[in-house]
């Protein structure tokens, strides 16, 4: 077994920044770094990053992702390259086939990995448990490859300027049992939360749909735009356009004031690069405090009432 195999993450013709991060992650391991591009026209993507030793282009007869096709391609690549480690991104597409490959080939496996190391030739991965409140180091079976789904933004993006050679690798692809029909864009809302300098963001802690107007009002008074975490959209209280998080919008305002948001992984992914993060939550162990610059363990309604008075 030798080196690291990375599968390029792309969506609708756009290369995802996450791919560069996977290349950086691979630098923690040993052996050559092979970057595979599985796509209708793999040469469309410029993936010659620093740290990549070889590019393998796997052409498909189709434009869009289908999990059976990507699974067959990855299994063929693993059989051909015999890598020590396989890195995918922790993305919706990869969730659709990565664990299947791991189960089929009985690989070592972990997902949402945010740390990778090599110790005495063995891969050690770090991931969180209990909803982000604790971390753990994982060891893997010694005699087989390990497949990891890596958390977006956990590693810095690799720079351009590599000089890997590219080759084509043709794979016999099965008919897909789950077939893409068409895309539907998320509905655009009344407000674009990605352009706001100041976001007042509320989560499950507000308890009730009836509390929303109070926070809309507070946002107005503070000069902020109101955004929400996923549970409020799931409940139908607010539209997806207001949602901060992996399945909503990624935001980077100057100030992100989070009230009653616990800090689920997919929410943090959408806001943790904000300029200043202030979090209010009654749970002192809430994961949001791991990314916040300022934190208060307090009842959000009490704090909101005081903020209202000051405005």
């Amino acid at each position: 077994m030798n080196g690291t195999l990375i599968v390029t993450e792309h969506l609708r013709g756009e290369l995802r920044e996450l791919t560069r991060e996977l290349v950086t992650a691979a630098q923690q391991l040993s052996g050559p770094v092979t970057l595979a591009v599985i796509a209708r026209d793999p040469t469309e993507f410029d993936v010659n990053f620093q740290g990549v030793d070889e590019i393998v282009n796997v052409p498909l007869g189709q434009e869009e992702f289908e999990n059976d096709v990507y699974q067959a391609a990855l299994e063929a690549l693993i059989a051909d390259r015999q890598p020590h480690a396989v890195l995918l991104g922790f993305t919706v597409n990869s969730m659709g086939y990565g664990p299947a490959v791991a189960a089929k080939l009985a690989l070592g496996f972990a997902s949402d990995v945010h740390g990778i190391a090599l110790e005495d030739g063995a891969v050690i991965a770090t991931r969180s448990f209990y909803g982000g409140k604790v971390d753990a180091e994982l060891e893997f079976p010694a005699d087989r490859p390990v497949l990891l789904l890596v958390r977006p933004t956990a590693f810095a993006p690799a720079a351009d300027g590599g000089n890997a050679s590219a080759r084509e690798f043709a794979v016999e692809l099965p008919p897909a049992r789950a077939r893409h029909l068409e895309f539907e864009e998320a509905a655009a809302g009344d407000v674009d939360i990605t352009t706001a300098d100041f976001l007042l963001s509320v989560g499950r802690g507000i308890g009730d749909k009836e509390a929303i107007p109070q926070f809309e009002q507070l946002a107005d008074k503070l000069g902020a735009v109101l955004s929400v975490s996923r549970p409020l959209v799931d409940a139908g209280w607010m539209p997806n356009a207001r949602q901060v998080g992996q399945s909503g919008k990624t935001v980077k305002p100057k100030v992100y004031l989070a009230l009653g948001i616990s800090g689920a992984v997919q929410h943090l992914a959408g806001m943790k690069t904000s300029g200043t993060i202030i979090a209010v939550n009654t749970d002192p162990e809430a994961a949001i405090f791991n990314v916040a610059h300022f934190g208060a363990v307090a009842d959000l309604f009490d704090v909101a009432a005081e903020l209202e008075k000051l405005s």
């Binding site: 597409n93 604790v134 971390d135 789950a178 959209v233 997806n240 100030v255 992984v265 005081e306």
Partner: protein, 254 residues
């Protein structure tokens, strides 16, 4: 028509955490337990389908891996309206591939039309058990589903897959199939007190675990994450906190 729903009782960490002597797990005294939120959506979706297109004798069967304690979560599903529950007796913590190997024989035995798993568990957040289980069952799989259109007589379902940024992928999948269910697909019903009481009396079938093979990983050390710079704590009562927030905001927006 039969839908198997795989459910998990998740652990919730409270205000404090302590680790076991070997530092490889959280001390169970510091854990509370609940039905995984994704699994209540999955159970609701199975019940919705049974109500809309099912008939006499159609079943929603919940399956879980764990010790007797996880039957609490399973009874919540029974109280919602699931017909039967099967527990694979297993008391250790397990990686998603191992859990899939434990679920597979039970799901297989039921010959379901559809298998539902939650996209992920709130404590593990691996988002892997469902996809791994589909592979072991030889079933087509769609992960992160926010809408399902299917009839028992049909050989395929039309589902909606939710990608990053809220982009939706309309997908056709051959059935029987395994789908991992995303939150927001429906509004899970509340069980009535009566249903909860009745569920307490229901028999849950317990089966022995199958061979699991080698685990996909082993926890070597568990620890509180480094807080980094750490959040600066805003002390005092709500009025003090609000005052500080106002100052910080004014400063940062200058």
């Amino acid at each position: 028509m039969k839908i198997v729903v795989c459910v998990k009782q998740v652990a919730v960490l409270g205000d404090e955490v302590e680790f076991t002597g070997d530092e490889r797990e959280v001390d169970p005294d510091y854990l509370d337990f609940a039905l995984n939120e994704w699994d209540s959506y999955a159970t609701e979706e199975a019940l919705r389908i049974r109500e809309e297109v099912g008939g006499e004798g159609d079943e929603v069967v919940v399956v879980s891996v764990g010790d007797a304690q996880v039957e609490d979560a399973m009874r919540r599903c029974l109280a919602m309206g699931a017909d039967r529950a099967i527990r694979v007796d297993y008391s250790r913590s397990a990686d998603p591939i191992t859990v899939a190997r434990l679920l597979a024989p039970v799901a297989q035995r039921e010959s379901p039309d559809l298998v539902f798993c939650g996209v992920q568990s709130s404590d593990g957040v691996q988002a892997a058990t469902g996809t791994a289980l589909a592979e072991l069952l030889g079933l087509p799989c769609v992960a992160v589903v926010t809408r399902i259109e299917w009839e028992p007589s049909a050989s395929r379902a039309t589902v909606r897959r939710e990608l990053e940024g809220g982009l939706l992928d309309l997908t056709e999948v051959d059935t029987p199939a395994l789908l991992t269910i995303q939150t927001g697909i429906n509004q899970p019903r509340y069980a009535t007190l009566r249903a909860i009481k009745q569920a307490e009396q229901k028999q849950i079938e317990v089966v022995s675990p199958a061979e699991q093979g080698e685990p996909a990983y082993r926890v070597r050390r568990m620890f509180a994450p480094p807080k980094g710079e750490g959040a600066q704590i805003l002390a005092g009562g709500p009025a003090d906190i609000a005052q500080r927030i106002r100052e910080i905001v004014a400063e940062r927006l200058k």
